[in-house]
Symmetry: C2
Subunit: 433 residues, 2 copies
Amino acid sequence: MDLEQEGLHPSLSAPVSESMNFLNEVAQRFPGAVSLAAGRPFEGYFDLDDVHRYLETYRRHLSERLDGDEAAVRRTILQYGRTKGIIHELIAEHLRVDEGIVVDPEAVVVTVGCQEALYLTLRALRADDRDVLLAVAPSYVGVHGAAQLVDLPVLPVRESPEGVDLDDLVAVVRQAKAAGLRPRACYVIPDFANPSGIRLTREVRERMLRIAADEGFLVLEDNPYGLLGDPSGPPTMKSLDTDGQVVYLGSFAKTGLPGARVGYVVADQRVTGATTGQDLLADQLAKIKSMLTVNTSPIAQAVIGGKLLEHGYSLRDANSREIATYRANLEQVLAGLEKRFGGPDFPGVSWNSPTGGFFLLLTVPFPAGDELLELSAARHRVLWTPVHHFYADGQPRYVIRLSFSHLLTDEIEDGLDRLADFVREQSAAHREQ
Amino acid sequence: MDLEQEGLHPSLSAPVSESMNFLNEVAQRFPGAVSLAAGRPFEGYFDLDDVHRYLETYRRHLSERLDGDEAAVRRTILQYGRTKGIIHELIAEHLRVDEGIVVDPEAVVVTVGCQEALYLTLRALRADDRDVLLAVAPSYVGVHGAAQLVDLPVLPVRESPEGVDLDDLVAVVRQAKAAGLRPRACYVIPDFANPSGIRLTREVRERMLRIAADEGFLVLEDNPYGLLGDPSGPPTMKSLDTDGQVVYLGSFAKTGLPGARVGYVVADQRVTGATTGQDLLADQLAKIKSMLTVNTSPIAQAVIGGKLLEHGYSLRDANSREIATYRANLEQVLAGLEKRFGGPDFPGVSWNSPTGGFFLLLTVPFPAGDELLELSAARHRVLWTPVHHFYADGQPRYVIRLSFSHLLTDEIEDGLDRLADFVREQSAAHREQ
């Protein structure tokens, strides 16, 4: 029986869905290309022995907690389990140690990566077609994807050199309300945003929280990279959150192990009128999870749990080698861009200088869309990400995202050489037009 | 910031969501009760050493496949990975060996348990508010849950002693079409259904496939228990499927390890008008997955992959001890029911006699709703499942579901004694009314 594309859910024909597909597919077609596109953590320290050891570390911890009841230990790790997860207490302790966030472990839902955390939150908040989400544009592709699965429109908020234009945020919220819409939340990556790499100052964070409180919407704080930056940076928005304005979305993909596919959401808001005795937003998210994935693999949770235990709950400590690598890569890319593009040969080329994270933005003097990415991959064997994918509208822009997290020193030099050839060629072609 | 229940998605206030919550909560409040409610696999043979060994078995297999490229092995198991999964070829081989299903591995999407497979399928098929799902009533709670997350109505089809009333199926489909609706698929567990335990005959399967072809809807075949029954039973509907009518939903929770949370969907239907080069329904489901959970933990997949490899792809072989346990438990429960309820003391009590699976249905002479379950738990310390939860309507019925899969011999005798006390008490109370 054949099906027709137009008879399937509209999210499957939306630009964002095509985006993710297209980017994966280009990467697969050109395996020999240097990828300045993939937002993957550095894999030079990956070791399968760690997985075995983490599992055993967690098993011993659990055995102590359960007074040596080995049948209960096996049941916890191998049987169906608690919907909200089994490492919630370890995660709460990690948040206290690394982020200064104090939270009731019952407000933590362990999820299948941060993407499921985002889905659960958006699914809960989208009650009917008046509901809308706010997000700084450009923003992480996954937020557009999750929003489309629940038919939730995303209203763009202007970016600024500080990360977010707060005047525009207020204007967008008020316009939406005037049009009868309900802005439920604003999605933001305050630390080293994807794609821009920008880190919000403490002042911007505090002003944003005040706006959220005044206007009555939640802040969805997504923080996959914060721990990998300078520890003297501004505090997380959740740690500044005195009024329960912030839902915190956590990932272990960059700091734990991507292959565990474990993330979490902290949702300590109270829900009034709840029909059950459980009145945290986390309990509502768990209800959705029970209909979506039932629970997060406790084996995968045990792997992450063991890593937390081995490092005194500190993923900053666990990632000391990786942090040094990311810092070195960032410095090498910034120096490499200056060396190649800093002279007079490249008018119209500029870039920003994040202080951490996996990404930065390079402005080029031509609209850099998908066709040019394909040409870049085929002719110059270098991949990068067209920024229109983060606007979910398919309109080529004069900006590309460069990622450097997973690369070795030689790959960075090679990749930047190839990129310079590509930019030179396309700049000339554009001038001739 | 407080939120209001009525400002959240309606699925969170629906009976099915309350059901799952209520049943979990009762089980937690009465940990000393014997559970004839939990649909869990037998855990007597669980062993964490197996997990370590399965991982290593899979690692060695991958190393051979990748010509000893250990960096690629580590990347495959520990890094972000292929959306459709890494053990699709092993699953296709398992389906050939155990189920006689021949399928292109590219049509397999590895999922976070069968529940995510169900969600992906329903999300794809629900294009607008004309779309509806059919399901034999009573049916698995999770299908109602997943359908509610995508706002997809479920039209009930009458059950019959053969499992499904095919005349009613045709009638429901035609009525729906006449009302301007689009019946997209019929959900069914052909082998040892949850909750009824019924196994469809080959003839019923073939007739149902013809109806689906004639009326233009898909069959969603969910098969968590089939492998644990008599191997001389009827073939899976997917193996009889010559016209691509069947989407096959697979679970490793009962035959692999529940703690791995790995399932899959086989979706080999062609999608015409697809905007990308990938034209299998599986590719569309993968697009949704990329927006929902990104990929299924490759560590968890490796655990299941190792188990498949160690048993020549046969989970029937891997579960020989479990299969003997389930058969013995079923026989013990049927004999125990006859012993306790077979005499003249229990008018109005009867039960069906499945030939496999985890469940059977007990008819009682009183409406057995949630209040009576609480009383049963508190006073008689035995848990069972009110069948109204499988109708998603909250109306108490004169039937309860008994599960026996996870119990030891003594627990079964204890549980049935307590159940007999409860039924005796309530039968008397009901007669007095």
